[in-house]
Amino acid sequence: MAFGRKTRTEVFIPTSSMGDIAFLLLIFFMVTTIFREETGLPIELPRAEAGEEAKRELISNIYINKQGLISINDRITKVEYVSDIIGKKLQDNPMLIVAFKTDTHTPYGVVSDVMEELKDVNAVRVFFNNDIESHPGRKW
């Protein structure tokens, strides 16, 4: 009679390949991650020597091209709707900075109209994006 014969089996999880698995996962996510990026409009930024940096988290872009087309959130917008869109964004983030990514050959009137819209909703912090001046003495 061999009742209750105790068998001792060692429970063993192989850990030596853990590093390999971690790296495979790392590589997998590195390769598959796509950063969501705004396409906006094709523009040529004006050049300037002075320039500050702004935190990306606070920035909301307004693209304006040479023809005066306005794009916010990758959608072409009319000037009249700018205040509504930015007003909503401002509610979510009171520290919002509105960045003008405007082509250097845009007529200033368009930018001025957009700024008037921003003033209506109290979005007063604006940022004029520019490229860093590469040829000192030459403006544009």
């Binding site: 702004a54 990306r56 845009t106 007529p107 200033y108 940022f127 004029f128 520019n130 403006k139 544009w140």
Partner: protein
């Protein structure tokens, strides 16, 4: 082979430390909020200097034509004589935006902090 993961980690740490995310470059400005009920601020005319960008993209400082590269020195001179100086940057709606940025850039370089934007009435 045992040191592969050490090497990988060293590389990982190296790239984590050296990575710089591209920051946005530009000129910050605070617009005046729309004033309701309150009276507009009055300033002395002697404290105001007007930098004007015309329809044909020419630039004048208090009515006299000026090259963009010379704005910095001209404003610096005025600022040294009067530290309460307010620069009004008046731009014609048909002028190039790049022209306005070039002027604003010069004002920044001259450390003019009180800048007001104005659009010429059509």
């Amino acid at each position: 082979m045992a040191s592969t993961s050490d090497v990988a980690f060293l590389l990982l740490i190296f790239f984590i430390v050296t990575t710089i995310f591209a920051a946005e470059q530009g000129l910050i400005m605070v617009l005046p909020a729309k004033q309701r009920d309150s009276e507009p601020v009055k300033v002395k005319m002697s404290n105001v200097t007007t930098l004007k960008v015309h329809q044909d993209d020419s630039v004048t400082l208090d009515g006299k034509p000026i090259e963009i590269n010379h704005i910095k020195t001209a404003i610096e001179n005025r600022l040294s004589g009067n530290d309460k100086l307010i620069v009004v940057l008046e731009i014609h709606p048909d002028a190039d935006y790049g022209r306005m940025i070039a002027c604003l850039d010069e004002l920044r370089l001259a450390k003019a902090t009180r800048v007001s934007l104005k659009t010429t009435e059509k």
